[in-house]
Structure formats: structure tokens, C-alpha cells
């Protein structure tokens, strides 16, 4: 690099450093949770780390876990059991137990409307968990039921969607009598 250019950069850096010192906050940071801080770069850096971690995780999973691809679709051959994607298995489970109008239409509609109305139904102004025991217990119950139904649908429903202890019988899936 030319010496003139180097000198110029050094001079500019000195000016910059002096300006920085003049602009530096006079108070010492208090580090308390209530302190107002500038979101860039600390906050943005945290987000960046989270995004990188997620990317690494996804690439690793995708290297070792193959997405399923069965035989070509054949409208003439119905696999038994036929299952919805896992996030709809809770609904399928309800359908296998209750009348379709109730399980397939009334119940999901009710849950969606109820969810949107939650902020208006919950009259308790507090946000502290210790003062919202009822809300948290009800929500916890909802979560447990949903997760349980999905797990049952995924692992414990075999042929004809009949209850099947997966580890006793395996999960025999047949296509019109023959194994798939």
C-alpha cells in the first residue's frame, strides 16, 4: 500500500477515535433488566446466532434423515390404515370416536373461535403466572390433550385405525390385503 494512503488512514482513525470518545455515554451502564439499550448490534446478533443454529440443525437433520417417498400414488389401492399428516391426527382421532359433524366440523370451529376470543374472555388483567392459575391450568390441559391425541394417532393406531400397542404388534400397514 502506498505510504500516503496509509498515513491518511492512520490520521482518519485518530480523528474517528477522538470523536468516539466525545460521543461515549457519560454514565456507566447499570446492566439492570430495565435499562434501555440500543437494539443493534446486541439484539440483532442474538437473532443471527439463533438463525445460524437453526440452519446448522436443519442441514444436519437433512443429511441424515431422508424425507419419506413411498410408491407412486395409486387411487385404486388404499393403504390401511390411511392417516392424515401428524398435525391433523388429533382431528382424525376425534373423528374415530365421535359423530363426524361434531368431531370434524363443530369442534374445530369451536376451538378456532374460542382461541381468537381468548383475549376478550380472559378478564383477568394480571400477566403474572401466579395470579393466572385458572388460565394456565386450562391452557395446559388443552396442550396435553392435543399432544396426547397426536401421539395416539401416530403410534397407537394400526390396521383399520384400531388401537394397537405399536411395540407389541408392530404397525402393519396393508394395501388391499397385501403388505405395502
Amino acid at each position: 500500500m502506498a505510504t500516503e494512503a496509509r498515513d491518511r488512514i492512520a490520521a482518519r482513525d485518530r480523528v474517528e477515535a477522538r470523536r468516539r470518545q466525545a460521543e461515549a455515554p457519560s454514565t456507566v451502564r447499570d446492566d439492570s433488566d430495565d435499562e434501555m439499550i440500543v437494539s443493534f448490534p446486541e439484539f440483532i446478533f442474538k437473532e443471527f446466532i439463533a438463525a445460524v443454529a437453526m440452519t446448522v440443525f436443519l442441514v444436519l437433520v437433512s443429511i441424515f434423515l431422508q424425507a419419506p417417498l413411498l410408491g407412486q400414488a395409486n387411487p385404486g389401492v388404499t393403504p390401511n390404515p390411511s392417516k392424515a399428516p401428524w398435525y391433523f391426527l388429533g382431528l382424525q382421532e376425534l373423528l374415530s370416536r365421535f359423530p363426524p359433524l361434531m368431531a370434524g366440523v363443530a369442534f374445530p370451529t369451536f376451538v378456532i373461535v374460542l382461541m381468537i376470543l381468548v383475549p376478550f374472555l380472559d378478564r383477568n388483567p394480571s400477566r403474572r403466572p401466579s395470579e393466572r392459575k385458572v388460565a394456565i391450568i386450562l391452557f395446559g390441559l388443552y396442550m396435553v390433550i392435543v399432544v396426547a391425541l397426536v401421539i395416539i394417532g401416530t403410534f397407537f393406531r394400526g390396521h383399520e385405525f384400531i388401537w394397537n400397542w405399536g411395540w407389541v404388534l408392530g404397525s402393519p400397514q396393508t394395501c388391499g390385503g397385501a403388505a405395502c
Binding site: 500516503e4 494512503a5 468516539r20 460521543e23 455515554p25 446492566d31 439492570s32 433488566d33 430495565d34 435499562e35 434501555m36 439499550i37 440500543v38 437494539s39 443493534f40 439484539f43 440483532i44 442474538k46 437473532e47 439463533a50 438463525a51 437453526m54 436443519l58 437433512s62 443429511i63 434423515l65 431422508q66 424425507a67 419419506p68 417417498l69 413411498l70 410408491g71 407412486q72 400414488a73 395409486n74 387411487p75 393403504p79 390411511s82 392417516k83 399428516p85 398435525y87 391433523f88 382431528l91 382424525q92 359433524l101 370434524g104 366440523v105 381468537i116 381468548v118 383475549p119 376478550f120 388483567p125 394480571s126 400477566r127 403474572r128 394456565i136 391452557f139 396442550m143 394395501c175 405395502c180
Partner: protein, 243 residues
Amino acid sequence: MKVIRGAVDEMWSVMEQMVGSVFRHGLPLTDKIAARTALTNFVLHIHPVRVRRSWIRMSYTLCLGGLSFFLFIVLTVTGLYLMFYYVPSINHAYQDMRDLQFVVTFGGLIRNMHRWAAHAMVITVWLHMARVFLTGSYKKPREFNWGVGTVLLLITLLLSFTGYLLPWDQLSIWAVTVGTNMAKYAPIAGPYTRYLMLGGHAVGDATLLRFYVMHVVGLPLIGFLLMVVHFWRVRKDGFSGGL
């Protein structure tokens, strides 16, 4: 000699000007510079310039809303790649999937990433909803944004569901047959709704095209617009912050 030195100097200052035109404020060494950077940068401006330390503790949001959005971006990028090779017709779809898996460079990896990111997004959105509930963050003045969120959850599920049909294998068509069968139980509208979704009485070519169009254009567009509103409201309502 002098001429060369002059030329080098000139090139150096052009380079400085180029870098300076992109990064206008240098390193964020003081709060003032950092604030100016955030305010004038397109990518950063969706963030508040100042936040309370308690708001950005990862133990509060667990990054779940942000991760949901990030997964949406990952799905858009990997999805574009898949679209180069995929034709939504029952004569091509399945073979295209096999080519992606075995022939196309990085096809298998990108397909896997698209698939697992989709599952992950259903989970992160769900957990984000749980975080918002458990911290009571839906309370006044954020009632509306909770509603927007609920619709976003539904869009996320529908995106996953429409994508499920596209590989056109035995898993796809029967899962979608079971899923769309649920619709027909609605009184009066049921059978029509199902017909509208399938473009016929059974899952076929018309269904594949409908699901494809909704999967790659309709639902992502609605979802993106709702996300814009969602983020806008997070800013305007003020982030709920620590308990």
C-alpha cells in the same frame, strides 16, 4: 512513480466510497452510531432502535416468533429450488420427486430441508403461541395481534397440508383424501367445500394443480401479508416485555 501512487490512492478512495455507500456508519462503537445504523438500514428498521434489556432475554421469547419467520424464509428459498424441477401434473410429479432425490445436484438435501423445516415451523409456531399465552402477552392492547397470530397458525397448517400432496406418492394422496374427507361433514356446505378443494370428487390432476397453486402462491402471499401486519403490530402495540 508519482503517477502510479496517484492511481493507487485514487483506487483506494473509490473503494472506500463503495464500502461507505453500503455501510454508511462504520462499526457500531457508540450507541449513537448503532442507533443511526438501525434507523437507516432497511433490514434492521423492522426492529425497535431501543429496547429494554429484559425484552430481549432469550428466556422470554425463546426466539420462537423470530425462528418461525426464519423458517418461513428457509422454506421460501428451498421451495424455489424445488420449483425449478417440479411439474404439478400426475404424469410428472412423482418422477420429478425421484429425480430430485437421486439425480439433481443437492436435490435430496434441499428436499429434505424443505420437508423438515416445514415440520419444524408447525412446532415453533405452536410453541410461540404457548409462550404468548403463558406470558399473558395477548392482553390489552395486543388482542388483535393474537387474532392475527391465530390465522397465521392456520395458514401454517394449510401450507404444510397442501405441500403434503405434491410428491404424489401413496402417503400424499391418502393423507389428503383423509384430510379432505373431514370437510364433507359440514352441514350443507360440506360436500361443496370438498368439491372446491379437490376440483372433483376424488383426489386427481385438478386437485394437484389446486394444491400446488395454493402452496406456492396463494397461502405464502396471504401468510406474508399477515406477517407484515403481525410485526407492525408488535412494534406499534409495544413489545410486552418482562413480567
